[in-house]
């Protein structure tokens, strides 16, 4: 059975340019405080980006050739995360049939 999984390309956030001043202590303190603020900002915004990427990942499975004795395939594309987004079903899964 062939199963493939594809994920969207992650977009790297551009890193903030850092500069370190020299000379006076107060200048260094300002730079350090600014740097700290940048790091805190990355921590907050970066987490939000990760959540967005997880919720839009798509699983695609190729249909296996029917000649194989056992065929497993995904009926439809569904979005993650762990539980599917609603509505799950766009059409009936199966039907009652006289047996």
């Amino acid at each position: 059975m062939n199963t493939t999984t594809t994920n969207p390309t992650h977009t790297a956030r551009p890193g903030a340019r850092r500069s370190v001043g020299s000379g006076s202590i107060w200048k260094s303190a300002i730079v350090a405080a600014s740097f700290t603020g940048v790091l805190l900002g990355w921590a907050v915004l970066g987490r939000g980006d990760a959540d967005t990427q997880e919720s839009t990942a798509v699983v695609t499975v190729e249909t296996v050739a029917a000649s194989e004795s056992s065929v497993v395939n995904v009926q439809s594309q569904l979005t993650l995360p762990t539980m599917p987004q609603k509505p799950v079903f766009q059409r009936p899964v199966t039907s009652t049939r006289r047996s």
Partner: protein, 315 residues
């Protein structure tokens, strides 16, 4: 990280198309779906009357010769069959093999029944009696004794029972649905959403009448519309009325029943069809079941409240 998805597996077993779905991740989904196919094959090998070496056929061959020890699978199905015999007051009867063969259903339907049968089993004139006299179950020894001339056919219960076994095992790994020729069992809703199952128009199989939403439970359909053939220029079908020992002649063409398990739905659908619309509806209501009765004249009769989805498009 393994991604969750809806995995599907299709195969042929018990003379019908089987499909199973599970919301899970690989490799669990793949492993468990393959296990479903294996389970069907194992149970069919044991319970099919169309396989000369099956455990069921060996038991039938030993009728009148004393007790025979049986496997846990065959035992479980026979116990279930006995329970439904009692609940239906004998309308469901697993000892109808001779009547089925006499009607012409002596081979797998796919081999074609519209043919003269060169050899017919003697239609033993076994008078209808309590099941306990024809089929004796010894729980302590897990053995079975068939009276002479009695033959078992589990076609009206084995498929539903197998669907339940498969679904309950599969359902341990995620929300799942197993469908064997229209005997369907759902283990749990998917993200709180019930599974949509179309109701096929028994008179126009290419069309659906409505969509049912089932979060947990089963649905099965019994019909004279598919497995029928001609013998001596008379139309025969596989649903034997044990009271007449002939194919049922009620006013019903197809019955679809919703029940907690597939075996209950399968048996109830058959019983209701044999009984006819009036007694069949009463039987379903007495059992606390709901369903759809399709009369031979095309009339549709609903029994109880059905979980019909009025928004999802049908074919």
């Amino acid at each position: 990280m393994n991604a969750f998805a809806l995995y599907e597996h299709r195969f042929f077993a018990m003379n019908t198309d089987v499909a199973a779905w599970i919301w899970s991740t690989p490799p669990h989904a793949e492993t468990q779906l393959r296990a479903v196919e294996t389970l069907f094959a194992e149970i069919e090998a044991s319970l099919s009357r169309f396989r000369p070496q099956s455990e069921l056929q060996r038991l039938n061959a030993a009728a009148g010769q004393g007790s025979v020890s049986v496997s846990a699978t065959l035992w479980a199905v026979l116990v279930e069959a006995q329970r439904h015999f009692n609940a239906s007051h004998g309308v469901f009867d697993p000892t109808i093999l001779a009547d089925l063969v006499h009607a012409g259903y002596d081979r797998s339907f796919e081999q074609g029944l519209d043919q003269p049968t060169p050899v017919m089993l003697a239609h033993h004139n076994v008078k209808a009696s309590s099941l306990d006299r024809r089929l004796v179950l010894n729980a302590q020894a897990r053995s079975v004794r068939l009276a002479a001339g009695v033959g078992l056919d589990l076609g009206g219960i084995a498929k539903g029972w197998t669907v339940d076994q498969a679904a309950e095992r599969l359902g341990q790994w995620g929300p799942a649905l197993v469908d064997a020729g229209g005997d369907i069992r759902v283990t749990a809703a998917l993200a709180g959403e019930a599974w949509p199952i179309a109701v096929q128009d028994p008179f126009e199989p290419a069309q659906d009448l409505c969509v049912l939403r089932i979060a947990e439970g089963a649905v099965a359909t019994s019909s004279i519309g598919k497995r029928h053939w001609r013998r001596s220029n008379q139309l025969q079908h596989h649903l034997i009325d044990p009271r007449r020992r002939r194919p049922a002649q009620s006013d019903l063409h197809t019955v679809t029943v919703l029940a907690p398990t597939a075996v209950e739905a399968e048996v109830a659908a058959k019983v209701a069809l044999i009984l006819g619309s009036h007694s069949g509806a009463a039987y379903l209501e007495a059992q606390g079941l709901t369903g759809l009765l399709f009369h031979r004249n095309g009339h549709q009769q609903q029994v109880g409240a059905l979980p019909i989805d009025t928004e999802l498009a049908i074919a």
